[in-house]
Subunit: 262 residues, 4 copies
């Protein structure tokens, strides 16, 4: 289906740089190689390539990873290297009812909304109103806003839901909230906590053990990218060394058990 | 909802060992700590804990990760550390039409089927009939069989579909098939290739560049797990060092361009 | 120079397995491929290869890494991946006077002794007499015993030396000793502390800052080995995920400064 | 011993930035915090700290790692993460005769010279005269020049020495030289080759197997540094992802054996 005004496209240049734009009448996109009028892209197709002053320009369909990296944000986002793994460990699927706290710019919220499907629901808690507004805009662009119930509230007041399937906790100080997280999860419900420091991982594990979580697992993910040169294959010189530690656990129907799942 | 015969449950012991069983009348589960009759689990709930001869036993709801690691398999499976990332990079979503070749034991096929939703479809090519049978059994257990069209065929004959959204290629020698993969993908469609060796990565990159793929990226993922001891936090002594390199690319509507997306 | 009785040799088989033996008259070395009389090796040379019942046998000169991995030990050893880096960060060189506490089986002690040269000296503190005896035997085999002064003592009593150039601290609880380490180091003297857990790293950093150390650095080293197959190059399936965190610092001539070198 | 003109010192500021300077009469060192006259440092001691307009300044003794990172260079240097390990794998020790080709800026040459001691010798081959001059200056500053014999020559002509103990090969295309390396090594002599790409690793392994090397090992080293904050311990955000692959081997007294040491 040929492109039309209102469509999102990713423009990629030969050097690998990418830009996410929405096609607008009378707009143009300025580049170091010259300008591209949006009207020139209309009626082309995703995957098309054209020349612009000696460089190739690719018209690509935006993926969720493009949206995550290109979206407006004011917070640290959850990287795909972590979020893909979290989705599986939280066992997110159609129909799931999931809590996301705090929402931040909405990257993880969007993924959760995508994968709970039309019959699922994401309850998105965020204290800061400006973050909520930003996340709503991002979710709207992805067509997922109707699956998310935003709550502009400090989570120290607890959560409204009951028997949720999974909980994604990404707040500066998660420890005081783990008791309330336990209450709102169903039996065997899954929790993921993002912790930037080892000190916090230690405290979160301890609190989860005391609160009534089992199968506690701690992971960190190192992703390394290679230069795609078939004659000189080698990793890029530098890489992301750390985003966060991921702590997972399963709610058991018993408080203060204090067991170590080892 | 209390457990009943026919339900799948994960039984976990204090030492972290887990077992996936389906509750059957008149069956029992033998452990080093004694036997557990399935009838004793009926009417209990996910998340329940009980004592058995001095150890705790946890009744957990199976997650997709449990199924992947516990399912019957005759092949190397795609690990969650890789498959979660592949799902995002392939931008799998409701309604997508995706090809999975070869299927193997069906771990990735199951994930694709889960996330294309009711309106999506997975076309699953596998040369070996015994693998197809195994994958079908696994998919049936996950309730996802109706989303998958199995094709017991050598893929050197090409693919029946047109304009598929994404392609997951995991066969011993992917190089000769990349031309046919290009044909069957829609413009800007996403491809992921699993390559165990650097030699194969080199050849796959080269072939993808010649065939008409752009935005070629190569990644490898190192996941490290920590002992969840809050007083002595440290990684486990050993870890998985390698499963496979992941090569990604986007179909462009032009063959033999030979561009290097860098 | 041809081999003679009394020489140490490494015997390697085609499958990569290695054995460190000392040539003795009338001895023989039993293998799964048959026996090798030591007398058959005498008058051969390092680097020689011979056939034994269909497999190749290699006669190799033992390296320090062979000795470290093959030596008798009752403790966790410092791995070459860590010890080579420690040598450089401690700036070990001819003439240095270095303290090693605790000695354990003597792997690091041997490396320090090797690289301080004939004019340097290693002061080796170890509480357990059996470890001292073991370390002495290992050092003797390497011809380095005369460079080491062993002290069979609990280090909570402090150290006898003054103005040492470098200090390697590898004991179960290093925190209480850091004050005494500071006293015994010269100005700008280098300290390395091995810490298995993140909790200990945190405590060691804090104590070093309070005590009068600057340029505090924390490192961990992940070494990955590849299968040396030129047609199918790929890492081994599994690797060492963790040995210890390495904490380094430089003594400043001022106590209780509490600065964070960041 | 108090500092005097002619001494090298490392100046470190509170923010961790460091500068290597040689004390000269009438010189001063300009910083963002103001100027430091060299004469103000004379008669102070290594480890001293003083205040300068509200920041602390530390006077540290330069280590070999300081010299390596601060030396003038026109080439990629061998990082301490790699060079410490290479020293152990090459089993460098007093009295060893070692070849270093190519020398580049001399970082590895300096380490080899340091650890072969007064009775050892480094033969340093380098095609480019400007690199030789640079390396000589660096070696002279470290007081190690007399242990090194420089040869300004293309190594395709082969090597003058016989029976060397170890060989460090770090040139753009190592493959054509491996035959000559084999000739110049003693039996069971150790070889280390630095390879930036996987393609080169594959070719080097193959050539080493054909030439008469056994015990071929391939390693890569990932070093990760942590922010030394005891209350918020976590790795730095980014790290070095790749310098080079390290390929090691042992000369066997037999050519064209083609064995794979696996």
């Amino acid at each position: 289906m040929p492109l039309n005004y209102g469509d999102d496209v990713v423009i990629m240049f030969d050097d690998g740089s990418t830009y996410l734009i929405k096609l607008n009448e009378n707009s143009q996109f300025g580049t170091h190689k010259g300008n591209i009028k949006h009207s020139e892209l209309v009626n082309r197709n995703f995957g098309d390539v054209f020349e612009l002053n000696g460089t190739y320009v690719y018209i690509l369909e935006p993926t969720i990873v493009d949206y995550i990296f290109k979206m407006k944000r004011r917070t640290q986002i959850v990287y795909p290297k972590d979020s893909g793994f979290v989705l599986l460990m939280l066992d997110i699927k159609e129909g799931d009812r999931v809590i996301d706290a705090g929402v931040g710019s909405g990257a993880m919220c969007g993924l959760l909304a995508r994968y709970v499907g039309n019959t699922g629901r994401v309850f998105a808690y965020e204290r800061r109103e400006d973050f909520i507004e930003l996340a709503k805009k991002n979710l709207e662009r992805w067509g997922l806003l109707n699956r998310v119930e935003f709550k502009n509230r400090d989570i120290s007041e607890g959560f409204d839901e009951e028997n949720v399937d999974a909980f994604f906790l990404d707040v500066p100080d998660p420890i005081p909230h783990i008791g309330n997280v336990w209450k709102v999860l169903k039996g065997s419900g899954r929790l993921a906590v993002l912790c930037p420091t080892t000190n916090q991982v230690q405290d979160v594990i301890k609190k989860m053990q005391q609160t009534g979580f089992a199968r506690i697992e701690v992971w960190e993910n190192l992703f390394r990218q290679y230069k795609p040169n078939p004659k000189r294959l080698r990793p890029f010189d530098r890489m992301v060394a750390h985003t966060a530690y991921l702590v997972f656990g399963i709610k058991i129907n018993q408080e203060e058990k204090g067991v170590d799942s080892k």
